[in-house]
Subunit: 268 residues, 2 copies
């Protein structure tokens, strides 16, 4: 069983990429679970069609024991779908839904085998509390960071690299690669690749900006389901092949602010 | 003394707006302090020219008593500048620099008078831990939320509204207004105004997208300093007038996901 975490700045395209990745792996017959670790709780929406299970936090709020069927949905490609949910803002740690979720999934035996892939889709604006848990020993072995060519997204990616370094000595996850998600900037692919190499990793895929994403969303579907013959779907399937092989994780070398600014400046 | 917090999604334009607001108030002879509450620790950069004081967290790491001159810089318009700083990602709460900063500033007597305005520039992707502190009783009385017309920014703005509701019963801050910061989307001003009204507030300013921001940045200056005769500088000065009057704070009514999606859909 391979555990993989996909991190990145909020809104950068993590859930779109993770759901398409899960769909592609599921369609190949792999047994996949996708765990949404973002208070936005919409990570698995594109796999679940219209159906919505309760988030783990919502379930816990009801005060009863949390059962498998309460929180685990079966989506497109037979992907198992779970959402951690988010606490009321200002009330406790924003990441505690994630902590609770990983605990409960452990108790329900989901880490004991029976799955080929567990994909964590994790908010990466702050790497702390529950948001740092998927990086820890016992959870994801490999982390992919989604970024665009924008300074803000690369800054967050660099911050996530710092988080990886903090957990590395305790058996935490390694950086398996950078996934570019295009925002239509000039020289974007080059900028992302330059960033990846500077931290000691590589850009394992560049996902172009595509209207098929929005079209699929309106139908409540991933691009892999909505437009399987498209080149966009092919990009996600190729990413699935890369991720399934995986295994070249490194300890990243985070950049100093000046180095990061230089990479962005060269891309402009 | 008026304490004001400016919240919003990371990268949305908080620091640009707050620094220009501080500069405008400072140029009118008001005594202003700007406190950067974002691990990015660059809130006051445009006011401080090239100079950089230590962040509060960096100072604490040295293990010695933190003195006023270690952490407080004097910037353009005589604005006092402080940066909370950020802890190593993955090591403890991402907001603890903010908690430490507010404690230390209290001990140094900065809340005892002598200032007309304290402006908190606060990361708003998660409203928890230190990031929620400026909303609490004893700190900001008024919150302004910076947003664009993008779903992700409005989602964060709505989340910040939820945080305000969590603290309201304990004497926390009220929502004084929504500040639009344009990203060049169609119908953006209308979308932001519609959001503001739906949560029971109003859009108090719309800051257009402007190349003068980048030009000023390259010179290490706010637009108010770099291009005082420009219409962009006039927008920031007008915002300063609105903020200086202030006082129409409300308890916001956060939107359900479907309501928020509808506002964005109508704007498209
Ligand atoms: N490759 C892409 N092309 C076009 N739009 C995209 C692409 N990837 C993501 N998006 C859009 O960006 C928005 C944010 O993506 P999402 O996956 O929800 O981000 P995150 O999970 O990182 O918050 C979505 O509304 C989606 O439609
Ligand atoms: N009105 C504007 N027009 C053009 N660029 C802007 C404007 N406001 C902000 N920016 C740019 O957006 C980037 C992010 O702004 P910043 O104030 O640092 O965001 P935040 O403090 O919310 O993270 C900055 O590089 C700045 O140049
Ligand atoms: S650890 Fe992180 S998520 Fe938890 S309260 Fe602190 S800032 Fe918020
Ligand atoms: Mg997501
Ligand atoms: Mg800022």
């Amino acid at each position: 069983m391979k555990q993989i975490a996909i991190y990145g700045k909020g809104g950068i395209g993590k859930s779109t990429i993770t759901a398409n990745l899960a769909a592609a792996l599921g369609c190949e017959g792999r047994r996949v679970m996708q765990i949404g670790c973002d208070p936005k709780q919409d990570s698995t929406r594109l796999l679940m069609g219209g159906e919505r299970k309760e988030t783990v936090l919502d379930c816990l709020r009801r005060g009863e024991e949390v059962k498998f069927d309460d929180i685990v949905g079966r989506g497109y490609g037979n992907v198992l779908c779970v959402e951690a949910g988010g606490p009321e803002p200002g009330v406790g740690c924003a990441g505690r839904g994630i902590m609770a979720t990983l605990e409960i999934l452990r108790k329900l035996g989901l880490y004991d085998g029976g799955l080929d892939f567990i994909l964590y889709d994790v908010l990466g604006d702050v790497v702390c509390g529950g948001f740092a848990m998927p990086m820890r020993r016992g959870f994801a072995e490999e982390v992919y960071i989604v970024t665009s060519g924008e300074y803000m997204a690369l800054y967050a990616a660099n911050n996530i690299c710092r988080g990886l370094v903090s957990f590395s000595s305790r058996g935490g996850a390694r950086l398996a690669g950078i996934i570019g998600n295009g925002r239509g900037l000039a020289h974007e692919e080059k900028t992302i690749a330059a960033f990846a190499e500077s931290v000691g990793s590589q850009m394992v895929a560049f996902v172009p900006r595509s209207g098929l994403v929005q079209e699929g969303e309106r139908a409540g579907q991933t691009v892999v389901e909505y437009a399987p013959e498209s080149s966009q779907a092919a990009v996600y399937r190729e990413l699935a092949r890369v991720v399934a092989q995986g295994g070249r994780g490194v300890l990243p070398q985070p950049l100093a602010p000046a180095e990061l600014e230089e990479i962005v400046r060269r891309g402009l």
